[in-house]
Amino acid sequence: MITCAEAVRQLWEYLDGVVGETDREAIEEHLSFCRRCCGELDFAEELRSFLAQPDEPALPPDVKARLLATLTELEGPP
């Protein structure tokens, strides 16, 4: 049996799939009866999808041109 604190501490690692078999079973056993930790688990999943939202803009044409010009300069005259 593990405590809520021990379960919560490992929730993200549980979701990341990096806890060992014994720890995974202990967490799942705890979640089977602890409603508050299930709430923590749901929230951890929400936070993960929140972080995974696509965000950054595509490569702007002027930046691309400058970076390729750097390369061409490095390569010297053909």
């Binding site: 919560v8 501490r9 993200w12 690692e13 990341d16 990096v18 709430g39 923590e40 749901d42 929230f43 951890a44 929400e46 936070l47 993960r48 929140f50 972080l51 995974a52 939202q53 965000d55 950054e56 803009p57 595509a58 490569l59 930046v63 691309k64 400058r66 970076l67 390729l68 750097t70 390369l71 061409t72 490095l74 390569e75």
Partner: protein, 208 residues
Amino acid sequence: MGVLPGQGVVCADEPTAAVASGESGFHALAERELPRLYRLARRLVGDDAEDAVQDALLKGYRAYASLDDEVAAPAWLTAILVNCCRDRGRAKGRRVEETELEDADEFSLYRKIAAEDPFPYSDSLHLDFLHQFGREDVRAVLAELPELYRLPLVLCYCEGYQVKEIAYLLEVPLGTMLARLHRGRKLFERTLWDYAERHGLLKENATR
């Protein structure tokens, strides 16, 4: 050895293919990979992305002749870029006090939201809290984190790299990386709450 997100660690200790060395090979590789590298650099170092990619192109160009596995070339260039981003982040990143870390280790955003109850009329309090944050806000919160914790967090949860891949990219043991990710998540939770307080997002009628 090299990595791309979620594809596992690729070992290239034994040369598997002779890479056509020379300028044109690297130029073609760089041109193909630029959009992906730039997007990753934006996530890792924000407005310094162009400079970080430029650093990576310079380093990659010089080292390209010694690359002996063409298949691993994109992952190889990614590793170079992540290191360039780390160097830039180190130079600019804020230092974090030990007391702040200990404080964050004890923090639970889930419990904080439940205890403070910022939206008393809500029946989905925790989701409503997250919905107050626009993309700019999330970017700003991530930017507030020290580089030591921000890079693993972004690589893992924004970019989908596996923990062992990140440990390889950032050249630290797996156990150290797990500990950094744990602290990084806690600091992120703490910073989300502080940011929401500072920017008036904890109001029932806050509109986004």
